[in-house]
Symmetry: C2
Subunit: 279 residues, 2 copies
Amino acid sequence: MPDPMYRQIADDLRRKIESGELAGGRQLPTELELREQYDASRNTVRDAIKLLVTRGMVETRPGQGTFVVAKLDPLIITLDWETGFSGGEGSAYYKSEVKADRRKAEVSVPRIEIQPSSAAPELGLETSAQVVSRHQQRFVDGTPWSLQTTFYSMSLVQRGGVRLFQAEDIPTGTVQYLEETLGIKQVGWRDKIMVRTPDATEAAFFQVPDDGRVAVMEIRRTAFDASRKPLRLTVTTYPADRNQFVVNVGEVPDEEVLGAPGSTASNASSESAAQGEKE
Amino acid sequence: MPDPMYRQIADDLRRKIESGELAGGRQLPTELELREQYDASRNTVRDAIKLLVTRGMVETRPGQGTFVVAKLDPLIITLDWETGFSGGEGSAYYKSEVKADRRKAEVSVPRIEIQPSSAAPELGLETSAQVVSRHQQRFVDGTPWSLQTTFYSMSLVQRGGVRLFQAEDIPTGTVQYLEETLGIKQVGWRDKIMVRTPDATEAAFFQVPDDGRVAVMEIRRTAFDASRKPLRLTVTTYPADRNQFVVNVGEVPDEEVLGAPGSTASNASSESAAQGEKE
DNA sequence: AACGATTTGTTCGTATGTATC
DNA sequence: TGATACATACGAACAAATCGT
């Protein structure tokens, strides 16, 4: 009738974690200790811990113990879409945004690669065409924070956009660079936003488990020039546990200090359970 | 040296699922069969299955078996910021968007409630004030798709916005209704976007496991009137496994048919593993 | 309605391997 | 090197859910 024992143990530990009785660093008793505390077998205790691991509340380290996962302080990224400001891509923009948050931003040297056009289908190039990709890793306070890859048609490089091909940061952003150098103006863009589980590379970089417990947000931005042709494709992935976004549209008051809402007003109402009254 | 056996089994099954050898409905062999196929103990087979369950690829049903999870066809929600169109909140808007996708949209009758102002901190009301909440459930082709709650100050109702208080749909949207009735014009809004795990209510409604394997995207939209004061707060939650967004900014070409990008061009490059060259 | 067969869920025991200090 | 702690793997028994007879 009651919950199985391993769930009871997990619930008890969860309660202790959420109440703050068990916080950040090394905390949980060892399996042997828990086994005595709850008078259960080691396997049952392990099942309870496995449940908490799945929910991302604790992590186990072989030879050391089981630890409560410390929540990361989310970085709030502000995008002012209406002003036409090309939010969020240039490294200068990224750094200033993070600095406004009093945190230290770092951007890796871009890794330049040549890839088949199939790597960036949104650019709509011939199958035989090639694209240049500029890949950057971003850190905040030393912690990996986001990954970004921008794809350009090789023809842009051939027409004079040579810096696209150089493995160094373009602080003013490639958008401005392309306009100054080639006179190509970005007049709009389309973002496709989705949430998915990280692939192996992302999981390794972000230092999250590779079993999909931490989601990543992927934003694929296709930017267009004045002739409505795709100019570039920028793919950015943000792990959901450390990134939030704020978008201002139209006339809005100045940003006040916005504390993380957490679970203030969720979609749950007062107390009623789910009800299926459709229409 | 090699992967542990339960991972090998899981990988083998994952391969079969991804290759389509095992698709939608009831598929996986029983634990007893797998135990023979891989010459492993039942517990080891179960560990392999548990891994796939955690990754959301299969689900187990007691007394029946283990089944490959059918991926939902994602609904692509298009928001055109530049037109100033108040994307996504009015039920009329929602229905037409979904219909354009050739799918059947349903919206539940709003559930009206009175709540303390602390339920909607973004409105910046006195602690003693109260807010009206309008809560709606949305379905696509009969499947629960999103949850939305809009909060208004009670004073709006007292000033004449009585329909806010009635449990019936306002097809033209409350934005237009408030402008026509009270002359209050919405001039902009601020969206806070975050990804988190669903709470118990959401998990039940969306029919997803309550252990956080499926993330939800929460969009908190605070809309402002001409005097830059908060007019309303709309909280919408979308399960990530069935929703994607497209945002157009500036001048962009017409929407072509956009197949789900899936894992076309990720942030992984050709083949190189993660490298830590920061700066 | 009752029963049995099948299938997954829970719990224990035990042994051995691997990582860390 | 040894001690500690988690990881993997096997075996066994019973419970609970489901389905068909």
